[in-house]
Amino acid sequence: MTVALSIVVDGIAYGMILFMISIGLSVTMGLMRIVNLAHGGFALLGGACAHVLTNSYGIPFIPALLVSVMAVVVLALPLERLVYRHIYRFSELEQVLATIGIVFIMIASVNLFLGSTLLPIRMPPVVSSPVDLGFKVLPLHRIIVILAGLAVVTALYLLVERTRFGIYLRASVDNQATAASLGIDTPKVYLAAFALGAALAAFGGILGAELLPIEAYYPLRYMVLFLIVVAVGGMGSIIGSFVAALSLGILDTAGRYLLPDIGTIFFFLAITAVLALRPNGLLVKSS
């Protein structure tokens, strides 16, 4: 019983981190349909920026977080105008190649300035203090991540499904020429969506850094993890990604509690089973 409860609590806590680090990819890859392998790159840049701010300049965590997210957005805007805008039109394979190229450059830049070692983000000590839930001890920062995750998923759902912007975005992605001829300013819609994706990547990267520490090769090291969440969640579905992240978190945690010896094999077999049964994502019935 306590094990089951632990699995659920730890699983949700872990799943929420998975959600936070991959939600930016759900926006760029799921909604905008760019095979954006550079997603982790934006998380890396956000994390590296937060590292420098908290470590070298002693800026407190919260302002550092906000400044870093803003900094990534500021970088993403010209990048979109100059580079990504052309990438949208590429075939999927070309997108793979282009975004790999971008991520290489991002990694090399961080490597050049900060080296290839871990880039810790200093947090107030209280954040990593254990909180006793009665049946279980949970670090405070996980509770913060859970709350942040809930806020992000709600806001994003409303934005995409309930606003005109959401409709414009999905229309532009489906058929840019037609959307434009209906008067939708597709370049601006793309720019906004892309910046949102980059901001979320940075936000998630920084919040998730307690578990997936930032270092120059972060984008490549965890690429599979980001992709899994989006794949299991289903392209373009925010709620899907959320459910997927939580399920994967619980699944992986269950594997570690119950079958630690074959945890990895169990995890990937389970993913295989899910994708075989639901090739379009957890929430979408296969047609």
């Binding site: 394979l93 190649l97 790999i100 190229g101 599979v224 794949a231 994502g281």
Partner: protein
């Protein structure tokens, strides 16, 4: 109609001089490379093996349009199978290649039965999952595979009973080259066959392919198995030439790199696969040699430049240049 003449299908029939020229260039290239860079045989052999591997992926991705990120599964199985075969059964290299091919084909068949029903992102993830499971299994089966330390104790007999593997790597170079050459000729036949045309049809419009009565799934599995067999051969070559197999053979990075090399060179073109591999590995080698800490910049910018200026891959460079004037 004359307005359209420039956009006419640029697929000349491979006939006459065009049939023989590329293999001759390849052969000549090998001799020149062998003669010019006698000290880099080890590195050049790695390029040749990688070419075999990328070619096998070209059949699957470039021709049939099946995008996976787990091609290392077949490579790794081929490598382990050939390595174990050499240790426990026979040191004959060619037999080992056959075993590698069989292992690659077998894993492609078993996983392909599942994978070929999927597409898009889920196919990518499934293929990654298969590779991860294999890697983890190899890592855990320490008694058989040596785990993370690698499978050691491989020592190969002479090729065809005549050519001993030498210290400098001459035999290895020509051995790998001959394998590449044969594979290339085989693939040329395959892609120009009705089966090859059907693969291109599948890539283009699966639903239409079904509507003309093609058993899509079977064709895709067949292509995957064929590609898997060739990838297995590439793995077997590595095992034989390095005399060691490590679990890195199943690395995700390897699968991703293969895709990058292929797209860089030009997917759906056999020579594109060769050029992509050659350029990627050479640039990597030279750049990493000059500045190991920052070579990633060079690769990053090269890759970006190619997608932006040569969207059909490096192989389209000559065509581009000719069109300029």
């Amino acid at each position: 109609m004359s307005a359209n003449s420039t956009i006419a299908a640029a697929r000349p029939q491979i006939r006459g001089a065009a049939t023989f020229l590329p293999p001759i260039i390849l052969l000549a290239g090998a001799f020149v490379a062998f003669w010019l860079f006698p000290y880099d045989l080890g590195f050049m052999t790695r390029i040749l093996i990688m070419m075999v591997f990328v070619l096998s992926f070209d059949l699957i991705l470039g021709y049939a349009g099946i995008a996976t990120l787990g091609h290392a599964a077949m490579y790794g199985c081929g490598a382990y199978a050939a390595g174990l075969f050499a240790i426990h059964v026979s040191a004959d290299p060619l037999l080992g290649l056959a075993i590698g091919a069989a292992a690659g084909a077998l894993i492609a068949l078993v996983s392909g039965l599942l994978l070929m029903r999927a597409h898009g992102l889920s196919l990518l993830m499934l293929s990654i999952a298969v590779t991860m499971v294999l890697q983890e299994t190899a890592s855990k089966a320490r008694g058989i595979t040596g785990g993370a330390d690698g499978l050691t104790g491989i020592s190969m007999g002479p090729v065809l009973g005549i050519f001993e593997f030498d210290f400098i790597g001459k035999t290895a170079f020509w051995y790998a080259f001959c394998v590449l050459f044969v594979i290339l000729l085989v693939l040329r036949v395959v892609v120009a066959s009705p089966f090859g045309l059907a693969l291109r049809g599948i890539k283009d419009s699966p639903s239409r392919m079904r509507a003309i009565g093609t058993p899509l799934y079977r064709r895709k599995v067949a292509a995957y198995v064929l590609g898997g067999a060739i990838a297995g051969i590439a793995g077997a070559l590595t095992a034989q030439i390095t005399s060691l197999v490590s679990i890195e053979a199943f690395n995700f990075a390897l699968s991703a790199e293969v895709m990058v090399m292929l797209v860089l060179g030009g997917a759906g073109r056999l020579y594109g696969a060769l050029i992509g591999t050659l350029v990627f590995m050479t640039v990597h080698h030279i750049a990493a040699g000059i500045d190991p800490f920052n070579w990633l910049f060079v690769i990053g910018f090269m890759v970006l430049a190619v997608v932006f200026f040569l969207p059909e891959g490096l192989i389209s460079l000559p065509k581009r240049l000719m069109r300029l004037d």
